[in-house]
């Protein structure tokens, strides 16, 4: 039933990751040979500087390296939060958008684009984040807080109510989003739709630091709840009987997810399917134990998004595809085949 041990999967992915980063650095409108990449790294980190290949160096360190790192970080955020939500909702088909974060972020971003128009987009920047990104973060976070508040009463937080509240708030945010699009002019419309497709083309070092901070918090705090997540899969009452402080765990998971997904949406737009697919695949490979599922999903998410982003830069070169389109294009058939397989197992 299980394909491999967690240690095997982690080793394989560890071996893949470094060459993949190299590939990510090579690919793009300007092709940089592997030897060039390595040489540029040597120069950058102390070896004898030379003026040869200065343009490649600039492309590598100002554009491609932050972009590859950001892709990895966003992949980690999406996959790890997906794992947490699937555990919390005890449903392998859950993903972070269930609690309203994606649609909230879209509405926030659209509002900022419509309000600010072109001027804000070019001018308004804070810590490397555009006003649109800040609007997305605020919108996503606000939506999650609303969903959480709606589902929390004196006797605790109901996961079922949270699911319904998530659907309702998503619908509301979707309506607001449509309203902003209705009010927008053609230029704004194009920006809104491009933003919603999700892309890493706005990567820069400040964004890398922000996403890095979010990932550091996520990976420091979430693995501590691995045992609690395992116990929660039995059901909330059973988790309580096993000594888990269920409501505190829920609050922590929701807040961490809102923070991390909010940041990832702010820096890269809405990238679909990573949060749903990655934990699902990893669970098929190594089983549902969250002590291994969380780190393995983190690595798999990073790998998938680095790969999708590298492909996004070359498939329609010299233009580039939003990475969100690629993850959905690759993710949907894969997901459907998983569903079909599951049906066969259940029938047969």
């Amino acid at each position: 039933m299980r394909w491999m041990l967690p240690s095997q999967l982690l080793t394989i992915m560890g071996v893949i990751l470094l060459p993949l980063v190299l590939v990510g650095l090579m690919m793009g409108p300007v092709w940089i040979a592997p030897a060039e990449v390595l040489r540029a790294f040597g120069e950058h980190f102390g070896a004898s500087p030379s003026s040869a290949g200065a343009q490649e160096g600039l492309i590598l360190f100002a554009i491609r390296l932050p972009r590859v790192i950001l892709a990895g970080l966003v992949g980690i955020c999406l996959a790890v939060c997906g794992t947490a939500m699937q555990g919390l909702f005890r449903n392998p088909l859950a993903d972070p958008s269930l609690i309203g974060v994606s649609s909230g972020a879209s509405a926030g971003a659209s509002l900022m684009i419509v309000l600010g128009g072109g001027a804000l987009l070019q001018g308004g920047q804070a810590a490397g984040l555009s006003v649109v990104a800040l609007g997305a973060f605020a919108g996503g976070f606000l939506a999650v807080v609303l969903v959480y508040r709606l589902a929390t009463s004196a006797i605790g937080t109901s996961v079922a109510t949270m699911l319904l509240a998530g659907i309702a708030i998503s619908a509301l945010a979707g309506a607001l989003n449509s309203l902003f699009m209705f009010l927008a002019d053609d230029e704004m419309l194009r920006r809104i739709s491009l933003w919603q497709m999700g892309s890493l083309d706005a990567a820069n070092w400040p964004r890398v630091w922000i996403a890095g901070l979010a990932v550091a918090m996520l990976l420091m705090l979430l693995p501590r709840e691995a045992n609690a997540l395992n116990a929660l899969l039995l059901g909330e009452s059973e988790a309580r009987h096993l000594g888990i402080a269920v409501d505190a765990v829920k609050r922590k998971l929701i807040l961490l997810t809102a923070m991390a997904i909010g940041v990832s949406v702010a820096v890269a737009g809405t990238i679909s399917f990573v949060g749903l697919i990655v934990p699902h695949i990893v669970r098929l490979l190594i089983g549902p134990d969250h002590r291994y599922l969380i780190p393995a999903s983190a690595m798999a998410g990073a790998i998938l998004l680095i790969l999708a982003d590298a492909a996004a830069r070359v498939v329609v070169a010299p233009a580039e595809l939003p990475a969100g389109i690629l993850t959905a294009l690759l993710g949907t058939p894969f997901f459907l085949s998983l569903l079909a397989q599951k049906r066969r197992v259940e029938v047969g």
């Binding site: 039933m1 395992n230 899969l233 059901g235 009987h241 000594g243 888990i244 669970r283 089983g287």
Partner: protein, 257 residues
């Protein structure tokens, strides 16, 4: 040291789910709770487990109020086997049993040993590597029985251990009903206090030291099986005309309907 309830009352929109219920589960004692559907058996179990708060009255575990225990400490000495489980993820049976060790810090090697023994105790060693979601209903229930066994496997500094079971035999065949009773008796001999909701009167009579018969949220009668299983009492509580005999081997009351 005991698991004790005093004057428990719980109302849900004007319906009394529990009405002034009190009981003591003593270490090594097996109490069975009987009653028609909707009599409040499961509610009582959930209040005793700290899952539901009573409107009035209180539950104490080893002389401390239930709420004064940290969840983790409490879980080391009080385990609950629910009627159904929602688990829908492909853990192996051994991993599910291992979840029972969540509140303990006894180390992986020791825990593995306990998991193997707990599975063996429920006649489930052959299940260890199988995927839980592909097991039959009875096998799943046995895995959960092994899980709660693993949870309260050994004596603890927190005090006497207690196990609450909600219809543990409902999905078992005859052999495994018998096995469950043996497991429960064995636990009681080790000093674990047991409270068990059971539907089958004869099964309840065979293993109980003490019986509680519930009706409409109240204790209709409590006592030794021979005192509780009387023709007039069964007629009053269950509205069934029964004949009471004696089990030819064990000497316990036998209810024939």
């Amino acid at each position: 040291m005991s698991l004790s309830a005093r004057n428990l009352s719980l109302n849900l929109s004007d319906t009394a789910l529990l009405d002034d219920v009190g009981l003591d589960v003593l270490p090594g004692q097996i109490i069975t709770v009987l009653g028609p559907n909707g009599a409040g058996k499961t509610t009582l179990l959930r209040v005793l487990a700290g899952e539901l708060q009573p409107d009035s009255g209180n539950v104490s575990l080893n002389n401390r109020k239930l709420a004064e225990w940290t969840p983790r400490q409490r879980a080391r000495i009080l385990a609950v086997l629910p009627q159904h489980s929602l688990l829908n993820f492909p853990f192996t049976a051994a991993e599910v049993v291992m979840l029972g060790r969540t509140p303990h810090d006894s180390g992986l090697v020791h825990d593995r040993e306990i998991v193997a023994q707990a599975l063996k105790a429920v006649d489930g060693d052959y299940l260890a590597g199988r995927v839980y979601t592909q097991l039959s209903g009875g096998e799943k229930q046995r895995v959960h029985l092994a899980r709660v066994l693993a949870q309260i496997w050994a004596p603890c500094p927190e005090g006497e251990r207690f196990l609450l079971l909600d219809e543990p035999t409902s999905s078992f065949d005859l052999a495994h009903q018998q096995l469950t009773l043996d497991v429960v008796r064995n636990l009681a001999m080790q000093g674990v206090g047991i409270l068990m909701v059971v539907h089958d009167l004869n099964l309840a009579a065979r293993c109980a030291d003490h019986m509680i018969l519930m009706q409409c949220g109240r204790l209709a009668i409590a006592g030794a099986p021979a005192e509780v299983l009387q023709r007039d009492i069964i007629a009053r509580v269950f509205q069934v005309d029964a004949t009471i005999g004696t089990h030819p081997l064990t000497g316990t009351p036998l209810v024939i309907t």
